[in-house]
């Protein structure tokens, strides 16, 4: 009985990681479309979101099936619960990528505008957090996951700095206002992607340690891991 469950759990893990890859790819493509002003790349991302939505439904159904048929407990139960939540976060990250692509589409069809460096930094941090959270999930690494939660502050800080920079841009040259507001939005979407990556990290902590660390100002791990 348990061997069947183990096989199913491994299959589920592969599935969610496959979805993760697609989502990471979408975010990357959207950012690339923004930087290089490529409309057709942006459209690819927007079209591709259908795939992500479908995958999200399939993963959720698979999780419910495992719960009903196997009544898993302890670590198996936590794993499936974590996957269900990570699944949701990933689908929303895909939506954020679509949003970025839509802004990229607009900016590509208008005059170029200077993208603040901080936006570049923010996109690097967010991408890194997404990658690290998925890695932590693969290894069930609670410590690494906690570190990601701390990085969210960095992303928030960068977002603020981007907003300041764009404000300055708008004050200096009012003609850029319409295009600049799109930059505001892109920054916000990237910051949300970082939030979702943080959620995934919190789910990994639950999966690994059985502790729910949401809604708490969680410090980086101390020696005893007390919370």
């Amino acid at each position: 009985m348990s061997r069947h469950l183990e096989i199913e759990i491994q299959k589920l893990k592969k599935r969610i990681l496959a979805v993760g890859e697609v989502v990471v790819d979408a975010i990357q493509k959207a950012l690339q479309a923004l930087q290089e002003r490529r409309a057709e790349l942006a459209r690819e991302v927007i079209e591709g979101d259908r795939r992500i939505d479908r995958a999200e439904v399939e993963v959720e159904e698979e999780c419910l099936k495992l719960l009903a048929l196997y009544q898993p407990v302890a670590e198996d139960l936590r794993f499936i619960a974590a996957v269900m939540k990570i699944n949701g976060d990933m689908e929303r990250m895909g939506d954020e990528a679509v949003n970025i692509a839509e802004h990229a589409l607009f900016l590509a069809s208008h005059d170029p505008i200077a993208v603040p460096k901080r936006l570049q930094d923010l996109s690097e941090v967010s991408m890194r957090m997404v990658g690290e959270s998925l890695t932590a999930f693969v290894h069930g690494d609670g410590e690494a996951a906690r570190r990601i939660c701390a990085e969210d502050d960095e992303a928030d800080e960068y977002n603020r700095q981007v907003i300041n920079a764009v404000w300055k841009m708008m004050r200096d040259d009012p003609k850029t206002v319409e295009r600049a507001t799109h930059l505001f939005s892109v920054s916000r979407h990237l910051e949300r992607i970082a939030d979702h990556a943080t959620n995934i990290a919190e789910d990994v902590v639950y999966m690994a340690e059985g502790k729910i660390i949401r809604h708490r100002a969680e410090l980086p791990p101390t020696k005893s891991g007390a919370s």
Partner: protein, 261 residues
């Protein structure tokens, strides 16, 4: 051993039964090894573990039913409300009146339903109204409505699930404080099992129940606290919810997820 217990996760409640470094041997083989455990009152405590881990032996230690086996030695303490059950001046017959037992295979006496329930109180000197006692006990065991018109019929004529409820009624008739159950549902079909599990929840209010089960889902459904035994040792004892969501010990985790045993 105290380090087997996870502080903060032990079921809260006064201990009605406990054991301290209890070791039970059949000849040279120790079936129960140095177990220390507190059973809280008015709760359902489940004892789980793989076959041969000593859970039935541990259960029987509490009502001195191990005395009937050959070559049994019991070391350490088994306490009932703080008193040593194995002290020299303790009468095992008296122990068994306060601590009742229901067995795996329903074993009603080949007598009438009424006689089944009334016999034990009668022989231990009950002076009240036996008919009322039989009715009360059968009601508490959720069997009265099904048998009230056929109390004279043989107990063996009932179905398996009914027989087991009759055995529960029989045990309750003595008004014990604790009821020990050794895999009470393993010989029953799922529907009867479900009925009896519902019964446990009602019984919990008046009695303390200790149930040995190899069915983990049953332990999860029914109990407040769960103790996990493996090869005679107590590995972990905690609140059931914790044992089944994030147990403290690796062995417990492996057992409840079915990776071994």
């Amino acid at each position: 051993m105290v380090e087997n217990l996870q502080s903060g996760a032990v079921p809260v409640g006064d201990a009605i039964l406990s054991c301290r470094n209890l070791t039970v041997r059949y000849g040279a083989v120790a079936a129960v090894q140095e177990v220390t455990l507190d059973i809280p009152e008015h709760q359902i405590t489940a004892i789980i573990g793989p076959s041969g881990c000593g859970k039935s032996t541990l259960l029987r230690a509490f009502n001195r039913m191990n005395d009937f086996y050959l070559n049994v030695t019991t070391e350490g303490q088994a306490l009932y409300r703080g008193e040593d059950l194995y002290a020299a001046d303790v009468d095992p017959v008296e122990v068994r009146r306060r601590i009742g037992m229901v067995f795996q295979k329903p074993n009603p006496f080949p007598k009438s339903i009424f006689q089944n329930v009334a016999w034990a109180p009668a022989i231990s000197g009950y002076r009240g109204d036996l008919k009322a006692l039989v009715e009360t006990s059968l009601r508490k065991a959720a069997l009265w409505d099904e048998v009230k018109d056929k109390l004279g019929q043989s107990g063996l004529a009932l179905s398996g699930g009914q027989q087991q409820r009759l055995c529960i009624a029989r045990a309750i008739a003595l008004e014990p404080e604790v009821i020990l159950m050794d895999e009470p549902c393993s010989a029953l079909d799922p529907a009867s099992t479900a009925r009896i599990e519902d019964l446990f929840l009602e019984l919990k209010e008046r009695y303390t129940i200790v149930i040995v089960t190899h069915n983990m889902q049953q332990a999860a459904r029914v109990s407040d606290g769960t103790a996990f035994l493996s090869r005679g040792h107590l590995i972990e004892f905690g609140v059931t919810k914790t044992i089944f969501t994030r147990p403290a010990r690796r062995e417990t985790e492996d057992y409840v997820t079915g990776k071994f045993g």
